[in-house]
């Protein structure tokens, strides 16, 4: 068993700019190790040597784990340094860590994926997994909200997904710009009219925490039972193994018992200002 605290070197195969400040790294192991096995919703700690280490969710398909994909936004010291990396550069990878979207218990149900902004990245892995096993599920919906049309992630894929007859894609932006002809309004406005069977639906939600609180509220108003709403939370994850306590969230360690939680397990914590 490898030491979970020891980063392994991975080489950058490609860097794809998704938006003006968001990018996807495709990684291959430097050593002879095979593809990294992971479940949708898990994350890795990515280490830019000499700069620092950050938790980044895996955005690739768990059924096709090579290359290893991570999508993130250049927003802090480490991710800005990561943004400047080029194919051939090497970074450290520890993981995968954390809980995953409970995809196995979702079989036979409608799957409602609600993403806000960069929150689509960890949800991409579960969507790809569901699409690869499409016959196992009922209706599948992607409800995606972002700031402006320019902030849409995975644009080519969104177009492809929107053409599928077995996937219902609804996109909205908070502010329309340019020639945008789609919906304008927050992502919560998509939930009321989305075509799914609430009692038989499982919802996977990721985005800013405020957005997730209000999305959960709308889902409950639609009649989705609380234990069937799952959120992916984020805190200051450092060790990723539940030792350091940086990501403690009440009784939970986000890195270990999360990042994916059923709503009823964390709802009381979400409104605590100090957490």
């Amino acid at each position: 068993m490898t030491d979970p605290m020891l980063p392994a070197p991975w080489r950058i195969e490609s860097v794809r700019k998704e938006t003006a400040d968001t990018f996807t790294l495709a990684l291959a192991p430097v050593n002879a190790a095979g593809p990294l096995s992971f479940a949708p919703g898990q994350f890795n700690m990515l280490y830019v040597f000499g700069v620092g280490e950050v938790p980044i969710s895996i955005s690739g398909n768990p059924l096709e784990p090579s290359p290893l994909l991570h999508t993130t936004r250049a927003v802090g010291v480490v991710t800005r340094a990561m943004w400047k990396l080029k194919p051939g550069d090497v970074i450290g990878v520890r993981g995968p860590f954390g809980s995953n979207w409970p995809i196995e218990s979702t079989k036979g149900r409608d799957v409602v994926i609600v993403a806000g902004g960069i929150g689509l990245a960890p949800l991409r892995s579960v969507l790809l997994h569901v699409l690869a096993r499409r016959a196992d599920f009922g209706k599948v919906l992607l409800l995606y909200g972002t700031r402006t049309p320019e902030d849409l992630l995975f644009r080519a894929e969104l177009r492809t997904w929107a053409k599928r007859r077995d996937l219902d894609v609804h996109i909205t932006v908070d502010r329309a710009t340019g020639r945008w002809r789609g919906n304008v309004g927050v992502v919560t406005t998509l939930i009321g009219r989305a075509p799914f069977e609430p009692k038989n639906a499982v919802a996977f939600v990721c985005g800013p925490e405020v957005m997730m609180r209000f999305v959960s509220l709308e889902l409950r108003k639609r009649g989705v039972p609380e234990p069937q709403i799952h959120l992916s939370l984020e805190r200051n994850m450092k060790c990723a193994t539940g030792f350091c306590g940086h990501c403690q969230f009440g009784p939970e360690f986000i890195c270990k018992t999360g990042p994916v939680f059923p709503h009823d397990r964390v709802k009381a914590l979400l409104n605590v200002r100090e957490l």
């Binding site: 902004g117 700031r147 789609g182 309004g185 919560t188 406005t189």
Partner: protein
């Protein structure tokens, strides 16, 4: 082909409404149709109607000098457009532009106000349903104002 009462009854805004009230509403209703680019109304015009949308998408826009019109929100099938008919001075405060082919039921605001005045139970029903949607729109606007996805260090 469905009559207008059946179309009204099917719209979520009127879900569960007493049949007697539906009969009253029918007298103020007409089916309307707009094509892409048509304006349902303009800011400053008399707000003498409101619309329940059955098909298509509508952009609520605000004209800003020197800029392209700002789309505040889009509404679609199942939504209701327009509250200004309820309150003086009964003037629209936005433009509403059809983004594709719109099929809707238009209600004559003056006709409805008179019926609500004569039948306060009907007035209460419509006011509560309208208030519920106004609350949803207010909450959504608050979230929109937060700029949730803006960059944070």
């Amino acid at each position: 082909m469905k009559d207008i009462k059946a179309l009204i009854q099917e719209h979520p805004f009127f879900s569960g409404l007493d049949a007697a009230y539906l009969d009253l509403l029918v007298g103020c209703a007409s089916n309307v149709h707009f094509v892409n680019g048509d304006f349902l109304f303009h800011e400053g015009d008399a707000a003498d109607h409101f619309y329940v949308v059955r098909a298509g998408r509508v952009a609520l826009e605000l004209t800003v000098p020197g800029r392209a019109p700002v789309v505040i929100q889009t509404l679609q099938a199942g939504d209701v457009i327009g509250w200004s008919w309820l309150f003086p001075p009964y003037l629209w405060q936005f433009d509403a532009r059809a983004m594709d082919t719109i099929r809707a039921t238009a209600f004559d605001g003056k006709c409805l106000r008179e019926k609500c005045q004569a039948n306060h139970d009907l007035g209460y029903e419509l006011a509560m349903r309208s208030a519920n949607i106004m609350l949803q729109r207010l909450q959504a606007t608050r979230l929109q104002m937060l700029d949730l996805y803006g960059q944070r260090p």
